[in-house]
């Protein structure tokens, strides 16, 4: 900046056109700076976040994942419990968009299988039959459902046009259920448990972390010891113990909520620490003192003056806490003490891959691992980007 000005000054002395141009660019610079001064904090955050390309891409990716979760019924070709007993462990079929046989036409199809039963292993052997095609349509009529739980509909994004022949774009499982459909429904459970768990953690974290950071003293000491205690426990054995103690007769929904609560019982500590840290830092700020001298109530100081100042940090911490929840749920369900069938989640789907022999015959059972890794990675990058952007004055 300084060098620019000096250069600009000498240039204008020379009284040439380039000098005027420089002044203009300088004016632009000042204007830009003025824009920065009057921009709201969220505006600044957005500008800074936008520069972090990878984080933006990951943000879009996460948005897509949540859209899949919301519109699962529309995207999934079949319901989760649709069993095609003739197609146990049917391998994935490739979706061909164009038919080359009679010129190039947009006519999506998948090749049919021929099935042979191996008399020794009593297993079905599938081979791709290139002579027989199953026509595939978009926006096909199927099982009726309620879109996002509200709008009644019966169209599905893709589906086999032949009512006799189902299609398995990602293969079928042990019972002949479509893995793609189950994966899509599983997305809903897995990502929502992450959100819900983080929400519960956040409530606990804001309450306890806020009290701890705002009041300080013995209550801060007590809460800090509590956090240290919780963090010193190995989580998995603790979770296992709590999860295994859930009564057998509980419904799927009850287990779902119980697991969420169990996950957030441990997850709140990191959020509480982050919030306490911000509270401690802000408490000493001049504007808080000014508000206090002005006679604002404590509630008003917290909600009106302090909350907006650390909300951005909290959002970043939340984004980083969700992947932790997703991994936890997946691990617990995989071990068989988390969610139980008939609930479909990424973890319960991966449970089918626990048996090496099953995976050896049907490697596509490992596919649910991909969304887990992608979602967790993307949330981590997104959280990193948000955390960097949360401090726009830096």
């Amino acid at each position: 900046m300084k060098d620019d000005k000096v250069e600009g000054a000498t240039m204008t002395n020379d009284r040439n056109g380039a000098g005027r141009q420089l002044i203009e660019s300088e004016l632009e610079e000042i204007e830009k700076e003025a824009r920065v001064f009057v921009a709201s904090q969220w505006q600044l955050m957005w500008w800074k976040f936008r520069r972090h390309k990878l984080a933006v891409i990951c943000g879009v990716l996460i948005l897509l994942v949540y859209l899949v979760a919301i519109f699962a019924e529309f995207l999934a070709p079949y319901p989760t419990d649709a069993v095609f007993s003739q197609y146990t462990y049917a391998p994935p079929q490739r979706l061909h968009l164009f038919d080359h046989s009679q010129g190039l036409r947009f006519e999506p199809f998948v090749y049919d299988y021929t099935v042979e039963v191996d008399p020794e292993a009593l297993r079905r052997e599938f081979t791709v039959d290139e002579t027989s095609k199953i026509r595939v349509g978009f926006f096909v009529e199927g099982e009726p459902y309620k879109l996002a739980g509200l709008i009644p509909a019966s169209r599905h994004l893709v589906g086999s046009l032949d009512p006799e022949k189902p299609m398995f774009l990602l293969g079928a499982d042990r019972l002949g259920r479509d893995l793609l459909s189950r994966l899509i429904y599983g997305t809903r459970i897995s990502v929502s448990i992450g959100l819900l768990g983080v929400f519960l953690s956040l409530l606990l974290g804001i309450l306890l972390g806020g009290i701890s950071g705002y009041y300080g003293g013995w209550i801060d000491n007590l809460i800090q010891r509590g956090i240290e205690f919780t963090r010193s426990l190995p989580t998995i054995p603790l979770w296992l113990g709590l999860a295994a103690a859930l009564p057998e007769e509980w419904s799927a929904l009850q287990v779902y909520f119980a697991i969420t609560v169990i996950l957030s019982l441990v997850g709140w500590t990191s959020l509480a620490r982050a919030i306490r840290g911000r509270f401690l830092a802000l408490r000493a700020e001049d504007f808080v003192l000014a508000a206090k001298l002005d006679g604002s109530s404590e509630f008003r100081i917290i909600v009106r003056h302090m909350l907006p100042a650390f909300m951005s940090h909290v959002i970043a911490s939340i984004t980083l806490a969700i992947p932790f929840m997703i991994i936890a749920e997946t691990s617990l369900s995989f071990l068989g003490v988390g969610l139980r069938p008939p609930i479909v989640s990424w973890g319960t789907l991966l449970r089918a891959a626990q048996n090496v022999r099953a995976v050896a015959t049907a490697p596509w059972l490992l596919i649910p691992a991909i969304p887990v890794i992608v979602a967790v990675l993307a949330l981590n990058y997104l959280g990193d980007g948000l955390r960097d952007a949360a401090d726009p004055y830096n």
């Binding site: 010891r225 240290e228 205690f229 963090r231 010193s232 426990l233 190995p234 989580t235 998995i236 054995p237 603790l238 296992l240 113990g241 709590l242 295994a244 103690a245 009564p247 992947p323 991994i327 997946t330 691990s331 995989f334 071990l335 068989g336 003490v337 991966l350 891959a353 626990q354 090496v356 995976v359 050896a360 490697p363 490992l366 691992a369 887990v372 890794i373 967790v376 990675l377 981590n380 990058y381």
Partner: protein, 331 residues
């Protein structure tokens, strides 16, 4: 230093008491007490139920008495006689079932910690010293991957991969002929042949964390004026690095080493379940699903206590390295 250690140990005691309470609560969570289950089990197999023995056991564990009496008896049995109760599934005192498995858990966990440091430290230093180089980007990417892939998935993929590619089983900690064998040099060598897989899997996540922490701290240090001074004086680059910045940058990592212990133990358990290791993981899972609560409780208690002790040791180590921490406790 001595005063610090004493204070730190004293602080640990309430933690241990709290842990024992939490574990006892978990033991009590399933409906019914274990003796009723035990009696039902005996009756269902046709064994005659010895009322006298049941009465004795009932007295010994204080069943039917108020909960705090039961808790007190449980704790007293553990402290005075090392008696963790009885596993009704194994028909043995809990202690006989767990010690061997606990030992192997500690071995796998400590091996993973060691691996984390041996690998993570140099990578962290290199990626800070050569910031924005290919090695740095590779380390960052690997770090994120290590964070994103749950341990059980890694174990699963490795197991399936080994099975499909080499038709080799990576399950277990020992070859079949050594499973029941007494400890000998050959058995130790066999253990070393198998232990690296769980070691790598469990260590990866924490290696990733360590690399990130070391890199960030070392980068902060490298920007400080004393580093420039050292360079200006003509010290060679490795010497500049090793002399001060690395030593200062290491302190936070040593501090978090203890914090990572719960993660490592958790990871060990999950990987053990997938790979079928003869450690605590699979047994704990089984005891929980069959509601063999005294066994499960003993596992959770001992593992938590081990974790707390591990954290204690790393805190003492940290205070020994960093006088500022020591002083905090004098205040």
């Amino acid at each position: 230093m001595f005063r610090f250690i004493v204070r730190r140990v004293v602080i640990t005691i309430p933690t241990l008491i709290l842990i024992s309470m939490v574990v006892f609560a978990i033991i009590q969570l399933p409906p019914g007490d274990f003796l009723t289950t035990y009696a039902a089990e005996l009756a269902s197999t046709g064994t005659s139920v010895d009322a006298m023995m049941l009465e004795n056991l009932r007295e010994q564990y204080g069943l039917g008495q108020p909960i705090y009496v039961q808790y007190w008896k449980w704790v007293r049995n553990i402290l005075t006689r090392g008696d963790f109760g009885r596993s009704f599934e194994w028909q043995k005192p809990v202690t006989e079932v767990i010690w061997g498995r606990l030992g192997l858990t500690v071995i796998v966990a400590s091996a993973s910690v060691l691996l984390t440091w041996v690998i993570g430290l140099p990578i962290g230093i290199i990626s800070a010293a050569k910031q924005y180089s290919v090695a740095d980007y590779a380390a960052t990417f690997l770090g994120f991957l290590g964070l994103a892939v749950p341990e059980f998935l890694l174990a699963l993929v490795l197991m399936v991969g080994a099975f499909l590619l080499f038709n080799q089983s990576v399950v277990g900690l020992f070859s079949p002929e050594f499973v029941e064998a007494p400890w000998s040099l050959a058995r130790v060598l066999d253990l070393l042949k198998h232990i690296w897989i769980p070691m790598v899997i469990v260590g990866l996540r924490n290696t990733a964390v360590l690399v990130r922490v070391v890199r960030a701290n070392l980068l902060d240090e490298l920007r400080k004026p004393y580093v420039i001074t050292a360079r200006a004086k003509g010290l060679s680059e490795p010497k500049v690095l090793l002399r001060y910045p690395i030593r200062t940058a290491l302190i936070p990592s040593v501090g978090t080493a203890g914090w990572n212990l719960p993660d490592i133990i958790s990871g060990t358990m999950i990987v053990a379940v997938v790979l079928g290791l003869p450690t605590t993981g699979p047994l704990l899972l089984r005891s929980l699903t069959s509601q063999d609560m005294f066994l499960a409780g003993a596992f959770i208690l001992l593992i938590s206590v081990l974790t707390v002790i591990g954290t204690l040791i790393s805190d003492i180590l940290l205070a020994w390295l960093d006088p500022r921490i020591r002083l905090q406790y004098y205040g």
